[in-house]
């Protein structure tokens, strides 16, 4: 399998002088499911942000799906974003729009046709198990359901890569596992590569996926079927 993501000697230093990532080398294969773990300030979020070009690396190369992210101009960032889906801890839904409209929004923004939008949105909502809630508004849904709407929006454009930044951070353990099942399902059925930053020990240990451990901006471990190892963090 070829690499979907490759990082070469990546360093990220913020303007305030704090270095979040030191000399990081990493390759993530297509179709894999990878956890990025580490304590606060370990650089998890920075790494995710660099993958969708919210942040630029100060040094090195970040290649996502063949695009050199660091060299991408602000006006061309959309080309990268159309290749990936992003899910956040706080869902980031539009409160005044229904579940259907929230998911459709992602396709409307890129100029998709109405009938195509309809088919894709219903498929995505079916994949996350929310087909019966299409006309609900986000505030009528549970946290887990809202996150599933966000996941549906992220996968509706059939991206190769799904980035998740602490997607279960606001959810109780049961709901978290529900989300993980949805993500695993997407990974298996759609073949979408998933990169998820988390500090939820239970999830990492149960899922037995690849685990990248970061500590104070350094890569400590990259293990297949890894576990959440407290001592490494």
């Amino acid at each position: 399998m070829s690499d979907l993501i490759r990082l070469k000697n990546v360093e990220k230093r913020y303007k305030n002088g704090v270095t979040a990532i030191y000399d990081l080398n990493l390759a993530i294969e297509k179709g894999s499911f990878v956890f990025i773990i580490g304590g606060s300030g370990s650089g998890k979020s920075t790494l995710i942000k660099m993958l969708y070009r919210e942040e630029k690396p100060t040094k090195g190369q970040v290649i996502v799906g063949g695009l050199d992210v660091a060299k991408l101009k602000n006006s061309k960032v959309y080309k990268l974003r159309r290749k990936l889906g992003i899910v956040f801890q706080d869902y980031r839904l539009l409160p005044k729009q229904t579940v259907y409209e929230n998911v459709a929004f992602a396709l409307e923004c890129i100029g998709e046709k109405k009938d195509v939008i309809r088919i894709k949105v219903l498929k995505a909502l079916e994949d996350v198990g929310l087909k019966n809630k299409v006309h609900e508004y986000p505030d009528k849904l549970s946290g887990g359901e809202q996150q599933r709407v966000a996941i549906a929006r992220a996968i509706v454009n059939e991206p190769k890569l799904l980035l998740c930044d602490e997607p279960t951070g606001n959810l109780d353990p049961d709901m978290s596992m529900e989300i993980m099942k949805v993500l695993e399902d997407i990974n298996k059925r759609r073949g979408t590569t998933i990169v998820m930053a988390t500090h939820d020990k239970e999830i990492v240990n149960k899922m037995k996926k690849q685990v990248i451990t970061l500590k104070e901006g350094h890569l400590v471990k990259f293990k297949q079927k890894g576990k959440y190892e407290d001592e490494a963090i």
């Binding site: 602000n74 960032v77 959309y78 290749k83 890129i110 100029g111 046709k113 454009n157």
Partner: protein
């Protein structure tokens, strides 16, 4: 096809946004309205000043009175010299007989007085009336004509005319300045009001960026919103221009203070000004919102 679809969506979003953020839209529209009223008035004033400056300039004539003993040969010589002055546009020669007839035709008083004078007694002189190309150089040209042999006296509205022209030029420049300054002020006002509506929609813009909307897609609805605000904002100024100017014109019978200062006829002038007002409104609205949204498009 895709472009039309995106444009349709942008227009729909823009209209929705104007309605949804009604109070903010109203604030922007009021700002645009007030400034455009002043812009419209300034434009009308400036064009009128320009117009009557031109009218007065058109009437500006230098009259050269020739010596009584000037022969036909002399007259030809004078005409030739006048012709050679670069600022001279055209000239007409009138014999004292022609002048006399003209004056007699103009008024009964002149008629009676002039009838009693024989040719020898007549104080009238042969004249050459000269029109110039550039009124600014009127006095200079008059001086040149004065120096020509056989020219007795030269008359033009010296002093007062110069001052009037200079004053009109000044007024014209000031009104242009006011128009430009007002347009700039409006742009800033619109930038600020639209910034308010945009910051209320930051979340939406953020999500648009995340799901891969291009800058064009994000910007267009806001630019169209600015256009809509510009159009609404120019309604009242246009009404004021159309009805206000027509009423003003009628009230003064087309003249201000004296027959000298003639106002521009309302038609088609008011339509031209209205067009200018709406175009300024639209452009200013677009520029305002485009620069307000730019801030949110940087990663």
């Amino acid at each position: 096809m895709k472009l039309f679809r995106m444009l349709g969506r942008s227009i729909r979003d823009a209209i929705k946004s104007v309605i949804r953020n009604f109070s903010l839209s109203l604030a922007s529209i009021s700002c645009i309205t007030i400034t455009l009223i002043i812009v419209a008035v300034a434009i009308m004033a400036s064009y009128n000043v320009q117009n009557f400056t031109k009218e007065i300039e058109k009437d500006m004539t230098i009259v050269a009175f020739l010596d009584n003993d000037a022969t036909e040969e002399d007259v030809k010589e004078v005409e030739k010299t006048i012709k050679s002055i670069s600022n001279v546009d055209k000239y007409t020669y009138q014999t004292k007989q022609e002048v006399k007839e003209k004056m007699q035709a103009e008024s009964d008083v002149f008629d009676t007085v002039l009838k009693n004078w024989s040719d020898e007694e007549s104080p009238l002189k042969d004249t050459i009336q000269v029109k110039v190309k550039d009124v600014q150089k009127l006095s200079n040209t008059a001086e040149k004509i004065q120096k020509i042999d056989k020219v007795a006296v030269v008359r033009y509205g010296s002093g007062m005319v110069d001052k009037m022209i200079a004053a009109f030029n000044q007024v014209e420049k000031i009104t242009y300045g006011i128009v430009i300054a007002l347009i700039i002020v409006t742009v800033f006002l619109i930038i600020n009001t639209i910034k308010l509506t945009i910051s209320a929609r930051r979340r939406e813009i953020g999500i648009m960026r995340l799901v891969g909307a291009s800058n064009f897609t994000i910007k267009t609805p806001f630019i169209i919103e600015g256009m809509i605000l510009g159009i609404f904002g120019s309604i009242v100024p246009i009404l004021i221009t159309m009805y206000g100017y027509t009423a003003f014109y009628k009230h003064f019978d087309g003249y201000l203070y004296s027959q000298l200062i003639q106002l521009i006829k309302p038609e088609p002038f008011i339509y031209q000004v209205s067009l200018a007002v709406i175009v300024i409104g639209i452009i200013v609205g677009m520029i305002g919102s485009a620069s307000a949204v730019r801030k949110y498009l940087k990663v």
